[in-house]
Symmetry: C2
Subunit: 133 residues, 2 copies
DNA sequence: CTGGATCCCAGATGATACTG
DNA sequence: CAGTATCATCTGGGATCCAG
């Protein structure tokens, strides 16, 4: 009963303008955050390795993304005090849980990519829906 | 065997710079696309109803998002030829499948929101990690 | 009512150079 | 190596006006 009620309430929260979850969602589904989660799936990586792994990300963006994700508790950062610097990143339990959900979406997307592209090309074929009397 | 191999291959695709799925993912996880999917979960809505449902979205963004999502085959648009105009939107089977994955992520997020916020505030408390000799 | 067209700004992102 | 700082750019997104 209470659970059902909660689900009803929760369902609408994200649709609410001032739902605080929106901001977190934004960080979670940001262009690079998604890829960081996937890249770190059961793996610990250093900054540069992570950067090589995630094609196209700049140093700046990766650093910023990692900072945000650490702030939110999705990843853990370990800096060894040596020279040259050695820093490792890995998913926290929270990050793992998030990654599972992200992975479901990502896997589905890659498996159904062709369906989407077919649809899109079909749409492109008939750019305007002119209704000639 | 082949399946395992495929999973290996697929796992890396999104991490590849020129993976075409990235663009679709971008549309799928865009600020408003997510909310449109959730709002249309087992429901058919008109433009203005949808707009009221999704707090904070502008006409422009909603229209644009809906166009993209129809292009990709996630939603279906039915325009009745009457005046004033009457247009309805609902999820396609493809859209439903996507929505399921999105919903999993969204529900998890709302359920674990407090965990994240605690972490974030803890991080804010110690802005810089100065290591005093 | 359902958008399209335009203008404009803030924030996201990239490129490059620099530092401990 | 692992970033930060700076500057330039590009894009998302809001506001507004207009039309079928």
């Amino acid at each position: 009963m209470t659970k059902l009620l909660n689900e009803r309430l929760k369902k609408g929260e994200l649709l609410n303008v001032d739902c605080p979850s929106r901001e977190v969602l934004k960080r979670l589904t940001g262009r690079w955050s998604l890829l960081v989660l996937i890249a770190l799936r059961d793996e610990t990586l250093r900054f540069s390795a992570l950067r090589r792994r995630i094609g196209g990300v700049s140093e700046r963006m990766l650093a910023q993304t990692l900072r945000y994700m650490e702030e939110d508790g999705f990843i853990s950062r370990i800096a060894y005090d040596v020279v040259p610097p050695h820093v490792e990143y890995h998913l926290t339990p929270l990050g793992c849980e998030a990654e599972e959900r992200i992975a479901l979406l990502a896997d589905w997307l890659e498996n159904n990519f062709s369906r989407i592209m077919e649809k899109r090309q079909a749409s492109a074929a008939r750019p305007v829906v002119n209704k000639p009397l």
